[in-house]
């Protein structure tokens, strides 16, 4: 295979991953590493480096669209980024210490968990009285637009959410993914933040989290330009198109199909990790 053919193939696959990831809201990053390792036979470390770069691109590229909707909360994001960035550095350091087989197995498990989490239901919102004092002290509460005017909300279980965010950051730094599923889990389920606020704020945080580990990945030589280039451009193009189509498309069945793909890739990664085939 020549460089040109490889570049085109990787760019097209990344484009599809980015498109489907944006349409389903599951993120394209999560399938990139399995795609590169299983389909293209790329070493998992190069794959993680390239994926991490594409994660920064999609998160930052989509940010202005999300902001305009008026759901994201910059304070919640900034506060929780302390946890995610420390986690990301920890994850990047762990990545250099454990074997690629272990990383593959962890990756597979995370894929299965993400597929499960994306199918779980949203919770009822708590009343302001139910929230702890930390929410007020840190001024984390806010309001979001609804058809009946702005609705205010507060933030529960701040310490639990903060710890989950550390975990999300560690996974992001270890596996080169956005770990949006864990971030939304922390905000939506633990901190009881309204779903729309959770997802948009999570997107906002993903770029900063990924940047924290990307510096370390770059200096360790994990980021190969020949690989990162088609992945980044492909995913970015796909996700920007996906965000435009999102309004019109019916995504329920697509979401189901994509979840099944994630499960299949997760199992494949675990098997490959155990057999040492990566």
């Amino acid at each position: 295979m020549t460089i040109l053919v490889f570049t085109v193939l990787v760019a097209v696959s990344s484009f599809v991953a980015g498109l489907v990831g944006a349409l389903t809201g599951l993120g394209g990053g999560v399938v990139l590493v399995p795609l590169l390792t299983i389909a293209f036979g790329v070493d998992i470390r190069y794959a993680i480096g390239a994926s991490l770069i594409s994660v920064i691109a999609t998160s930052s590229g989509a940010a202005s669209a999300y902001v305009r909707e008026g759901y994201s909360n910059v304070r919640i994001g900034m506060f929780l980024e302390i946890a995610t960035t420390i986690g990301a550095i920890a994850g990047a350091l762990i990545a250099t210490m454990v074997s690629t087989r272990v990383i593959a197995i962890i990756f597979g498990v995370v894929l299965l968990v993400s597929a499960y989490l994306s199918s779980s239901k949203q919770r009822e919102q708590p009343t302001v009285e139910e929230c702890g004092s930390l929410s007020q002290k840190l001024r984390l509460g806010g309001s979001y637009p609804t058809p009946n005017g702005p609705k205010s909300y507060c933030v529960c279980n701040v310490p639990a959410g903060f710890s989950l965010m550390f975990t999300a950051g560690t996974l992001s730094g270890l596996l080169g993914i956005g770990s949006g599923a864990v971030k939304v889990l922390a905000m939506d389920q633990a901190m009881r933040i309204p779903f729309k606020v959770s997802t948009t704020t999570s997107n906002f945080m993903i770029g900063v989290t990924a940047a924290a580990s990307a510096g370390l990945y770059l200096s360790r030589g994990y980021i190969d330009p020949g690989l990162a280039m088609p992945v980044m451009l492909g995913v970015l193009g796909g996700s920007l198109l996906g965000a435009k189509l999102l309004v019109k498309a019916k995504t329920k069945s697509l979401r189901l199909v994509f979840s099944l793909v994630i499960v299949a890739l997760g199992i494949e990664m675990i098997i490959n990790g155990i057999r040492g085939a990566l």
């Binding site: 020549t2 460089i3 040109l4 490889f6 570049t7 036979g41 790329v42 070493d43 470390r45 770069i53 920064i56 691109a57 930052s60 590229g61 940010a63 202005s64 669209a65 999300y66 902001v67 008026g70 994201s72 909360n73 910059v74 304070r75 900034m78 980024e81 302390i82 960035t85 420390i86 990301a88 550095i89 690629t100 840190l138 001024r139 309001s143 702005p150 770029g207 900063v208 990924a210 940047a211 924290a212 580990s213 990307a214 510096g215 370390l216 770059l218 200096s219 360790r220 030589g221 994990y222 980021i223 190969d224 330009p225 020949g226 690989l227 280039m229 088609p230 980044m232 451009l233 970015l236």
Partner: protein, 129 residues
């Protein structure tokens, strides 16, 4: 909406635009580097991605990348785009420090500075090699 929230809203809008500009700039640089790289090396055989070697200092340190860009190397230009992309969220955090300072929100200036310090720790490791 209270005053705080209006200030926050404005900040988020500007940050959103800033991020988009950063990505567009980084994406254009990567695309340009890709054209140079593919014109020169497109027909060559694929490098070995199956086993991990790690990139040389030329492609993994800021100094090496900049000197490669100076010599008009495609891979170095792509890597410059990657650097710009990594810098984009960092610029966002820097902007947030300033915006919170303008809002006279000391607590959030401190919290944001902590995030910035963590990012700097990671980035300096790549500058210093």
């Amino acid at each position: 909406m209270n005053e705080h929230e209006q200030g926050d809203r404005r900040m988020e809008l500007i940050i959103g635009i800033l991020l988009r500009l950063g990505v567009m700039l980084a994406g254009s640089v990567v695309l340009f580097g890709a054209v140079v790289y593919l014109i020169r090396n497109g027909a060559a055989a694929l490098p070995d991605y199956k086993s991990f070697h790690g990139e040389s200092a030329q492609l993994s340190t800021v100094e090496g990348i900049l000197s490669g860009v100076w010599q008009f190397r495609g891979r170095a230009i792509i890597q410059l785009g990657v650097l710009l992309l990594i810098a984009t969220p960092v610029a966002r955090v820097v902007f947030a420090v300033v915006a919170f300072a303008l809002e006279k929100d000391k607590l959030y200036v401190c919290l944001t500075l902590i995030v910035l310090a963590i990012l700097m720790f990671s980035l300096l490791s790549s500058v210093l090699g």
